[in-house]
Symmetry: C2
Subunit: 338 residues, 2 copies
């Protein structure tokens, strides 16, 4: 068996790649939430100085990448690779900011799982000896997502209780072959799970089974259990999906209670911010990881987390054609560093 | 520097991964073209037995994957990983066929460069010791692409001379840590190149500069030149883009004449098939690689090719907002095996 492979879906880099820096850019609503004080950049202008929401999203990724290299004391040309993706059609928020920068780019699509997917690939590239400095990056924008996936904002459609609020934000993480910081100890590649959920306003339900499948696969492959992690962090099931995951896990004799946190429930204050089931979008787990978990891993407040990016692999076309919503979840185990 | 990294954008696996099998599925027009006799599966039914074109595309990927494992004498559960992507919004043709198969999946978006991108990542996963058997896969469908990117087919829009015809097809390639077959010797990750082309009916012009940038980077990083390759295979610039690449290269003192072939010009007979500038779409380079080049590499008829997947990173939204079309090109060097 391949030497860095573990079990069916996981890998363990021989030399764990180091997360030496991270950067987060957040919108207005996010900066008014519980993590508001922790973002590197927060803006009240939904357009980020651009003419359209799609261009605002590109601008956020550009700001996140610039801030990342600045915080790392590097410049863009020091990056060996950027692994990034987003929710917009043809991933334009990810490719446009890299135009003519000369940075090698691998474009990804993993829906809201993309922060974990990009981190996993960055770890693979660094751990495999292909690159020394890789940026993993993603973004989402409430307004560009709403009009692409659901309704134009001006339509004023009623939101269901299970609906989630797409986060306006972008997160970027620098994964290196050496340096100081939290380390990527292992990762588990997700499988596409479909339990027949067809309600496009209930992403949590579509993603929870995928999250459980990957968490179980991770425990099996690495011979670990919930007790080995300080936190199991899903991103982003929302309140409804989180409860569903806890129940599904309990049904299989797995107790995630006390360990499970979900980025979708952390980023907004549901009582005050009218976000229904919580936050969602690639940017949600990206900026929550950067603002809440990586700092705590750096200081040693957290020793080990399993960061589980969850994505709903639907498109408006698949939904209109009556197809169910498959989910995917990629998991990355990050340990506290010095 | 990371031990498998070469130069700025390239990598050279210490043990070259082996391409042990491949499979191609093609539509009616493709099977009537010059490579028609070489596809594993050809169908005259545009719907591939499904109700919609989008579902037909998913069906093609399913058929390609099933054929691939069958030709390799394996079953689906023997695969460690599938790296795949496509052109449809949210890459539904790639994720849906893998539902509930239990195969780990990395979703990609590289527009029409995806066959090279997926091959490159498969080589990275196998060469890095993360996996032993990885399928790289992609697809496109003329009818699903036209209505998503351009106009509904029923509208009967006039096509410009530089327009290309999206190939209906899916290709899958099995990359392994051992076995017999062509080998992946090196790869070059592309950068996002934007020269300000805004004509969405002239993808060749948008992609040619990216192709040149990556080919030059590959030569620089590996200390090689056109004379070291039997063929430099772009996919898919079309006739117009191919001529543009030759001219751009000549301007920089690089003579690609006699070496350059383009999948978009090989797959159709432009004189008989009314495809204007040639073929395009992820499926174009995928099935041309599988039907034309990999068999010749296996028999030793070709010793070494540089397979350069080219993609135009536009979306209908970016075009409607007046933005230019960035291009990307990933290159994979494949040598003849036994």
């Amino acid at each position: 068996m391949a030497k860095q492979k573990r079990g069916k879906q996981s890998f363990v880099p021989e030399i764990p790649p180091v997360i030496t820096a991270w950067a987060s850019v957040a919108g207005k609503k996010e900066s008014e939430g519980p993590l508001g004080h922790s973002f590197d950049i927060a803006r009240t202008d939904t357009y980020f100085g651009q003419k359209t929401w799609e261009q605002a999203e590109k601008r956020m990724q550009q700001m996140a990448l610039d801030t990342l290299v600045q915080k790392a004391g590097l410049s863009l040309e020091n990056l060996d690779l950027v692994c990034s993706g987003d929710l917009l059609n043809q991933c334009i928020s990810s490719s446009f900011p890299l135009r003519n920068t000369g940075i090698p780019h691998i474009g990804l699509y993993g829906a809201c799982s993309t922060m974990a997917e990009s981190l996993m690939l960055a770890a693979m590239a660094v751990g495999g000896g292909y690159a020394d400095r890789v940026a993993a990056m993603t973004s989402s924008h409430f307004a560009s997502s709403e009009r692409q996936y659901r309704f134009p904002l001006g339509y004023g459609g009623q939101r269901t209780p299970t609906a989630q609020w797409t986060v306006t934000g972008s997160g970027a993480v620098l994964v290196c072959s050496e340096g100081k910081g939290p380390r990527i100890e292992s990762a588990t590649v997700g499988t596409v799970t479909d339990l027949g959920i067809t309600d496009a306003n209930n992403m949590g339900a579509a993603m929870a089974p995928a999250a459980l499948a990957t968490i179980k696969a991770h425990f099996d492959d690495l011979h670990t259990g919930p007790e080995d992690y300080d936190r199991i962090v899903t991103g982003d099931l929302g309140q409804f999906g989180k409860e569903m995951l806890l129940a599904l896990a309990r049904n299989e004799g797995l107790n995630l209670g006390g360990k499970l946190e979900d980025c979708g429930t952390l980023i907004f204050d549901r009582n005050k911010q009218d976000v229904h089931s919580g936050g969602s979008g690639c940017g949600c787990s990206a900026i929550t990881l950067c603002a809440e978990f990586l700092p705590k891993l750096r200081t040693g407040k957290l020793k080990k987390i399993l960061f589980c990016g969850t994505g709903a692999l639907l498109s408006p076309t698949s939904t209109q054609q009556g197809l169910p919503i498959p989910g995917v979840c990629h998991a990355v185990c990050i340990t506290g560093g010095i």
